[in-house]
Amino acid sequence: MEALLATAVGVLTACGVFLILRARTFPVLLGLTLLSYAVNLFLFASGRLRLGAPPLIRAGGSYTDPLPQALVLTAIVIGFGMTAYLAMLALRALSESGGDHVDVAKEP
């Protein structure tokens, strides 16, 4: 379980960083999305991994730490909004400059 999660975080981060280093806005956007997935999984793991335990404290029952789940939820919402904004900005750059290069061509 730990190895699987660690591998997933690692692969997602590597792919994300690779894509962010591209020079076009669309791959960069995808890279940021992958990076935020990796971060969310990492945050989730910060409460330790437990199988078959609900994030609810009950008398006698075992439970898993609910806080990281709340953190991940917040991070997902914020990340989603940011990515949507970046997509709009990239589209605007595309329509204004006619190219999707990150360093949009200078004004004439």
Binding site: L32, S36, V39, L43, S46, R48, I78, G81, S97, E107
Partner: protein
């Protein structure tokens, strides 16, 4: 009223933003915005006076006690920073209300939401909450940066947004590491648990290093600062003036984390490399000032210069240095913001030349005088506040190990700024274009809102010099309160922080 005072600097702009979204009428939005900003100035001034009794005001949201709930913590530093934010915001909003806000939609609600993020980031005592307020601030700033349109702004916006999204990812990784190793995200609780044995020292160090790196990205420390000059110079004048405080959010966060969590537990995390990088930032920014080809680019480099000078403080871990740094912070923020507004006003009357440093139509006499006062403030010449700020900082930094290098860098950079301003000032305010073109722009006078807002911030230089004693005393008290981490922890967690260990759920 007093019990709920800490949350009001967040609630007032938030309520104003909601109200402004209810109607698209610009006059209504302006009135609400100016009223809310004025109210915020009064309220934060009151909060600053209230905080000066030295008590730590802890506001538990939803009445959940720390470390379980999120707390807002008002000490002298937090209250003072919200006051600075409010003053700056009022001037920027006044300037924007003369037509800049009509160049795109939703300027006013976004402006207020940016204030929510700024005041929240200064007030919160919880690191995840700090992340949320950072994001509120950044999301509003992305849209404000693009306000007014134009390819230059879109271009600056893309790199700014991408960079800050990466910064947010690193922030979350740092928070995950902190929660994984220490089991809390409340700053006071973190500081408390760091001093206890039984956690992974190496991981905690790594997490704090990452956290500091993210703050330094916002502050504009050298290897992470290449985004700053072109972003700030692309923004519209009032937006850039408000942005002048955004780098300070990062600096204050570094100061706070360093004083409360790092000094007692990991004192050696910053001292080896921070001073070197801060000095490199100062030199880099000074060269940028020399190379700037227009006033607002120059102002953007000045923001970076003051960030570099301020980042000399955290590594010293001394209340005296921080006291000087806080005074320097206040005056340099106001001066940089004044520079952006003045650039906007000067550009208005010079047609194609705008605020570029070349011959063009002459600005009005009051603008020349304002430029002269501002230039003296920024370059650190007596008798204005810039001189006093630099003097205090240099005096305090004389005894530290890297003292000679710091003196050399700060004095040289001051000299370079002076040369740049003298040379470019001559071009800007004295050199007339030949042959003289008919001045069509002269027919439209500068709007009173713009003139008032600019003069308000320019006057901060002389006014802070007159009121230096109370302000410097307040900064000294704020710094000594900041450097009493025991009192902070006790104030937030209660007198005897119970050992609320990570629950047995592991």
């Amino acid at each position: 009223m007093n019990t709920h005072a800490p949350i009001l600097p967040i609630l007032i702009p938030f309520a104003a933003a909601l109200l402004q979204m209810a109607s698209e009428r610009l006059a209504f939005q302006r009135a609400v915005g100016l009223l809310a900003s004025g109210l915020l100035v009064v309220l934060t001034a009151w909060l600053t006076l209230l905080a000066d009794d030295g008590l730590l005001r802890v506001y538990a949201l939803g009445d959940w006690p720390a470390p379980f709930g999120i707390v807002l913590v008002v000490d002298r530093l937090a209250a003072g920073m919200t006051l600075l934010t409010a003053v700056l915001a009022f001037a920027a909003l006044l300037y924007a209300s003369s037509g800049f806000d009509a160049r795109g939609r939703h300027f006013h609600p976004l402006f207020q939401l940016q204030l929510v993020g700024l005041t929240g980031a200064f007030l919160t005592g919880d690191l995840f909450n700090l992340f949320v307020f950072f994001e509120v601030m950044l999301l509003a700033s992305y849209t404000l940066l693009a306000h007014g349109g134009g390819l230059a702004r879109t271009r600056a916006g893309i790199s700014y947004v991408v960079l800050n999204l990466i910064g947010s990812a690193l922030f979350l990784i740092a928070l995950g590491l902190l929660y994984g190793t220490l089991g809390t995200l409340n700053l006071a609780d973190l500081a408390h648990r760091l001093t206890l044995p039984g956690h992974d020292q190496a991981l905690a160090r790594l997490a704090f290093a990452l956290l500091i790196a993210v703050f330094l990205l916002k502050a504009g420390m050298l290897p992470l600062s290449f985004w700053l000059p072109h972003t700030y110079s692309a923004a519209g004048a009032p937006v850039a003036a408000l942005f002048a405080i955004m780098t300070k959010v990062g600096i204050v966060a570094v100061l706070r984390v360093q004083a409360i969590a790092l000094t007692p537990a990991i004192p050696d995390l910053l001292d080896t490399w921070l001073t070197t990088l801060a000095l490199a930032t100062v030199v880099f920014a000074a060269l940028g000032v020399l190379a700037a080809d227009r006033l607002r680019t120059l102002a953007a480099w000045l923001v970076l210069l003051s960030a570099g000078a301020l980042l000399l403080a955290p590594a010293q871990a001394s209340a005296q240095v921080d006291a000087a740094a806080l005074f320097y912070l206040v005056q340099s923020t106001l001066a940089a913001a004044a520079c952006f507004l003045l650039a906007g006003v000067i550009a208005e009357r010079r047609g194609d030349a705008a605020d570029r440093f070349r011959a063009g139509p002459l600005p009005a006499t009051w603008l020349k005088v304002a430029f002269l006062i501002l230039a003296a403030t920024v370059a650190g010449l007596p008798p204005f506040a810039g001189f006093l700020g630099k003097l205090m900082l240099l005096t305090r930094l004389r005894e530290v190990a890297a003292g000679p290098a710091i003196w050399l860098a700060l004095l040289t950079s001051g000299f370079i700024v002076m040369i740049a301003l003298a040379r470019n000032g001559c071009l800007l305010i004295w050199k007339q274009e030949t042959p003289v073109e008919p001045r069509a722009a002269a027919a439209t006078p500068i709007a009173w809102q713009r003139a008032t807002a600019t003069l308000l911030l320019v006057a901060a230089g002389p006014l802070l010099a007159i009121g230096v004693r109370p302000l410097a005393d307040y900064a000294a008290r704020a710094a000594s309160q900041l450097h009493a981490p025991g009192a902070y922890v006790a104030g937030v967690l209660g007198p005897t922080p119970a050992a609320i260990g990570r629950t047995e759920a592991r």
